[in-house]
Symmetry: C2
Subunit: 222 residues, 2 copies
């Protein structure tokens, strides 16, 4: 029993080390091409696709947008993102609960990034595994939706530690769900002091300007 | 590259085969002891803990309840479940995104099941990995919350295939989120025809009788 546990841990460490190397490769390739890569992470149903569609619409006159939709299966989101005006490819992770850097690199090769400025990787809906795997993005963006609750940093700490900005989606329902923004701020600060938190509604557009401004600032500073 | 991919797949297959053996062992031990084990799975924030607390309160005069709270980290849920009147242990998965049968067996040993009739395993909040790992439960219960959307079966098909019953939580918000129950039924039927779907609100108690009746029927038939 001990032996097999040790083996599994070894494999995981090797996988993560290989992944880190591949992530640096992705980052340097994107830098060379002047492409800004965003890793978008959230729970199932937090509103990744709706947020992405509104983001594409807000940016598409200024930037050429690419989208890589990672899903365990299905391609519903890819169609939606393409209709919003982005260049889109669908990646099936084949049962895996996250994207890794190698899958990301394959996606980039398949899509082609010579004609895009910003690429959004919509990761698999999951707060655990995607946090562990650096895909080589310039920025990691986490969406937490109000119905999930203000206590989520306590339960999925790594995701809050590795993300660069936290978008709190579905703020139009904050009252219904007794969502406490001060509590969230305090919970986040214990893990990642000062991380920007942007409350918004991808459905109504409330607060969206703050997110677009943050993103443009980061893209233009690349 | 090919080689390392093949290796990783081999390891995963071996892990799943080992897990299936361990799951059968858990199931036969639970049968011997007359204990009914429930594997409770859902996204982060779908309401697993609130549902569990109300379930404990509804059952505790008739059955002795045990709870194993699986979390990547933290023990907020364990305290809540203990206050509701269950025998509780906390399991930290140490970064893993799911429980497996071996972890479940260790949890059972640590908690002791001679003085309980029903054990709820609150799995890690995740719709991908927990679906792959049989923990040896009598029944797998999935909670989908209304804010996550009626399209989730398309994106996380395995979870809907392996579950024995689907609880749709937060029905009190169905109108706000334009949740379409007919669409959900159709999406579920494509993967798991006729799976019972029970709409309820763990917060208000609406629809809870249906879930408790289903559970009692299953427990008493064990």
């Amino acid at each position: 029993m001990q032996d097999s546990e040790i083996k599994i841990i070894d494999v995981k460490e090797r996988i993560l080390a290989d992944n880190d190397r591949a992530a640096e490769e992705v980052r340097s390739r994107m830098k060379e091409k002047g492409v800004f890569l965003v890793n978008l992470m959230a729970s199932p149903g937090a509103g990744k696709t709706t947020l992405l569609v509104r983001t594409i619409r807000a940016l598409k006159d200024e930037y050429r947008i690419g989208v890589m939709e990672a899903d365990v299966d299905s391609d519903v989101d890819a169609k939606t993102a393409a209709e919003a005006g982005a260049k889109v490819i669908q990646i099936h992770t084949g049962g895996s609960c996250h994207m890794d850097a190698e899958m990301t690199e394959k996606g980039i090769d398949e899509m082609g990034v010579d004609d895009v400025d910003i690429v959004f990787l919509e990761n698999v809906g999951n707060l655990v595994c995607p946090a562990e795997f650096d895909v080589g993005a310039n920025k990691r963006v986490m969406i937490l939706s109000v119905p999930e609750g203000d206590d989520k940093p306590l339960k999925y700490p790594l995701m809050f530690q590795v993300s660069d900005v936290l978008l709190v989606n579905k703020v139009d329902t904050a009252q219904i769900f007794d969502f406490d923004f001060d509590m969230l701020r305090a919970n986040v600060d214990r893990l990642h002091e000062g991380m920007p938190i942007i409350p918004l509604s991808a459905k109504t557009g409330d607060g969206f300007d703050g997110w677009i401004a943050w993103l443009k600032r980061e893209v233009n500073a690349r």
